[in-house]
């Protein structure tokens, strides 16, 4: 649907000259987002904001696979969580600097994505989701048993260290801008992937796989590529989260985390650039500020999900995109 409206919009306004790499309203939105996030730590609690950024990146990475690749993975916690373990272990035990720790986490997520993806993309629909879930559960039980993960205690007291050996990340301000840079870089990369020829082929595969094959595309290679990209970016989010919270735990590899990222993506708007960001912000804010309501958090979360599915299936940003008639 998004692909069709892109084509229509482009055909309707051939005379308007826009920067080739980004339509003007996206440029404005990205600028606003960046400006808001630069000011935000002076008004809101920085650690909370960093949590939102990590989950927003995670949801965006997931959305790359679901919203643009049309593949519903139910095991993204595996990449997110394993990356956070590896990054925590690298920073704490190997004594790597934070940027190298995060890179090693991202790398392991990419490798996991390559192995699991290569097997999972051979099946479609519900079978694909089940295969990814099964692999994620394997990673969960591996994390539970492996000696380096600390079992259910997790890896605690991870040092934040010095970025490039220079900037002390134990203070919240430098840490925030470091996380912001990772987040923004990740989002722009995802944006670029979506709007590249590669992204166009992905959309074609999602809409009609048989036709894409008949046009001569190696469909499985495209699927595997997007799977690995999505896993690596999820890993980037998880690895960063480990440095921010100074811990890696089973929560991050548990299947509930895979469910949470689906919820964030659907609530914000699947297949939109900004949707997962909004979805992640809403869910994390609820978990954070409603924590004193106890068991009501999960009930409210469930109720909101039901309302979203019944009333605005396109998600928050999806509905706004429909009103404004512009792909967001």
């Amino acid at each position: 649907m998004a692909g069709e409206s892109d084509v229509v919009a482009a055909a309707a306004m051939p005379t308007v000259r826009e920067p080739a790499w980004m339509p003007r309203h996206h440029l404005v939105l990205f600028a606003l987002l960046l400006a808001g996030l630069l000011v935000a730590p002076f008004m809101l609690y920085p650690i909370f904001l960093m949590k939102v950024l990590c989950f927003a990146l995670f949801a965006s990475a997931f959305n790359l696979l679901l919203g643009y690749g049309g593949l519903l993975s139910f095991g993204h916690a595996a990449y997110f969580g394993m990356a956070s373990y590896v990054s925590a272990h690298a920073a704490k035990v190997w004594g790597l600097t934070p940027e190298l720790a995060i890179l090693s986490g991202t790398l392991i997520a990419a490798v996991l994505g390559l192995v699991f993806g290569a097997l999972a993309i051979r099946r479609q629909g519900i079978y694909f989701a089940m295969v990814t879930l099964a692999f994620a559960q394997m990673v969960y039980f591996f994390s539970l048993q492996a000696p380096f993960t600390g079992g259910e205690d997790g890896i605690q007291a991870v040092p934040r260290g010095h970025l490039f050996g220079l900037f002390d990340l134990s203070r919240p301000e430098p840490l925030y801008f470091f996380v912001l840079a990772i987040f923004f870089g990740g989002i722009l990369l995802i944006y670029r992937i979506i709007h590249s020829p590669f992204g166009q082929v992905l959309k074609a595969i999602r809409q009609n796989e048989a036709r894409a094959i008949s046009l001569g595309y190696q469909v499985n290679r495209y699927k595997l590529a997007v799977f690995v990209l999505s896993a690596a970016l999820s890993g980037l989010a998880g690895a960063t989260k480990a440095i921010v919270f100074q811990l890696a735990s089973l929560t991050d590899v548990y299947w509930a985390m895979s469910g949470e990222v689906v919820l964030m993506t659907l609530l914000g708007g699947m297949g939109t650039v900004f949707g997962p960001l909004v979805g992640a912000a809403v869910i994390v804010t609820m978990q954070n500020y409603l924590a004193s309501f106890g068991d009501w958090v999960t009930i409210i979360q469930g109720a909101i999900f039901v309302i979203a599915v019944l009333l605005f299936r396109e998600g928050i940003v999806g509905v706004i995109a429909k009103w404004t008639k512009k792909p967001l």
Binding site: K51, F141, L247, T298
Partner: protein
């Protein structure tokens, strides 16, 4: 007229200013599970217990303004550490209490150490809090895995249960629990006949239980936790294991689990606990007051929250401020004294030293009525109940 107004205004300002000058503001954050597995064990009951401590301490008349905050950490370490950080950074919370679930408690332990505040851990089990992860800012108040497993192991052997078979959850925690308990059993003169490992979150224990039954051991040690313990006890009841003469020993089981299982199923089970509601007049009176407010007898975790908050507030009064280091120093230098644990001291590694109790679940005939679940088999003195400092790997305590 003008003068009268001015006088009134001055009087009003003075009246407002006086208590504000003398008051110490104390903020207590009760952080625990309010929606999941441990909501019954800790949850709202811990907040009730903290409030009772504030009332009994009579903070208002001592010019100490106490505010209690509470939140649900959902058993997720990142949620818990985020709340703890935010409480300390933006809400100026002085002390965090309770925090069941070991992974969350270890995360909060690090946050509190970094920010130099106070952490009174009543809920968590992991003995790492006074071991590898020990911190000058943390006092582990009520129980730990070591005291539950080893208390049960040692006392059971002394009671004649000298041959053991372990039913162990197959992951690091289960292995550690089995290893530690087996060491105590052998050190006390008992013998371990064998073990069997089951996967985490099993639903079918029948083959494992049959092995345990045919081993002929007098005691079957359940080195698992949560749902696995509950399921293994339920299925053991179906096999009639306790009726046939073997005893079940729960190594990490709480009074709430027994309440959930019911006496019919859980009867004969032996466990260690830090609190027994009808142990003496003081505990009975406390339990009755607690029950009036919360509708149920307090668990050891909730009773521990009461005891910890009371001792903390006494420290604030004695020191005259909420300065973390000064209050902690006072708390460790002076014994705590309350209806829950009587008089008890705090060790250098942050371990609150008090007696533990070896309990057996009554049969339905023995039970005098609602919430009368346990009979006291033995009192385990504090020095035997908890791990010694030398074995604890706590760097801080060795200096």
């Amino acid at each position: 007229m003008k003068l009268a107004k001015a006088l009134l205004a001055t009087a009003a300002i003075a009246a407002m200013a006086v208590p504000a000058l003398a008051e110490t503001d104390v903020k207590i954050g009760v952080l625990n599970d309010r929606s999941g597995l441990y909501a019954d064990l800790a949850g709202e009951g811990s907040v009730v217990a903290a409030r009772m401590a504030v009332e009994d301490f009579d903070a208002a008349s001592k010019d100490i303004a106490v505010e209690i905050l509470s939140a649900d950490h959902q058993n997720k370490p990142d949620v818990g550490s985020n709340i703890a950080r935010q409480w300390i950074d933006t809400d100026e919370v002085d002390v965090i209490v309770d925090v069941p679930t070991s992974s969350v408690a270890l995360a909060v332990n690090e946050v509190v150490r970094e920010k130099d505040k106070v952490f009174l851990a009543s809920g968590p089990a992991t003995s790492d809090l006074t071991g590898k992860a020990c911190s000058p800012n943390t006092i582990h108040w009520t129980y730990d895995t070591y005291s539950l497993a080893n208390g049960t192991g040692k006392a059971m052997v002394e009671q004649g249960g000298d041959t053991w078979f372990f039913l162990t959850a197959d992951y690091a925690f289960g292995h550690a629990l089995e290893r530690d308990t087996a060491a105590v059993v052998e050190a006390s003169g008992g013998k371990v006949l064998g073990n069997v490992r089951h996967p985490l979150s099993s639903s079918d224990f029948s083959s494992f239980l049959l092995q345990a039954q045919s081993s002929g051991a007098k005691v079957i040690g359940l080195a698992n936790a949560g749902g696995d313990t509950v399921n293994s006890i339920k299925q053991a009841a179906e096999f009639g294991i306790v009726q046939a003469g073997q005893s079940l020993a729960g190594l990490l089981i709480f009074s709430t689990d027994v309440a959930a299982l019911g006496l019919e199923t859980a009867q004969g089970l032996v466990l260690t606990n830090a609190f027994l509601a009808d142990r003496n007049e003081d505990t009975a009176a406390f339990s009755a007051r607690f029950k009036e407010k919360h509708g149920k007898n307090p668990t050891m975790v909730q009773a521990g929250v009461y005891s910890a908050v009371l001792h903390y507030l006494k420290g604030v009064e004695a020191v005259g401020s909420d300065d973390a280091d000064a209050v902690l120093e006072w708390m460790k230098a002076n014994p705590s004294n309350d209806p829950i644990f009587g008089e008890a001291t705090i060790r250098k590694d942050g371990r609150h030293m008090h007696d533990m109790y070896l309990l057996q679940v009554k049969s339905p005939d023995e039970s005098a009525g609602e919430e009368d679940y346990f009979k006291l088999l033995a009192t385990i003195p504090a020095e035997e109940a908890f791990r010694s400092i030398e074995d604890g790997e706590c760097e801080m305590a060795k200096q």
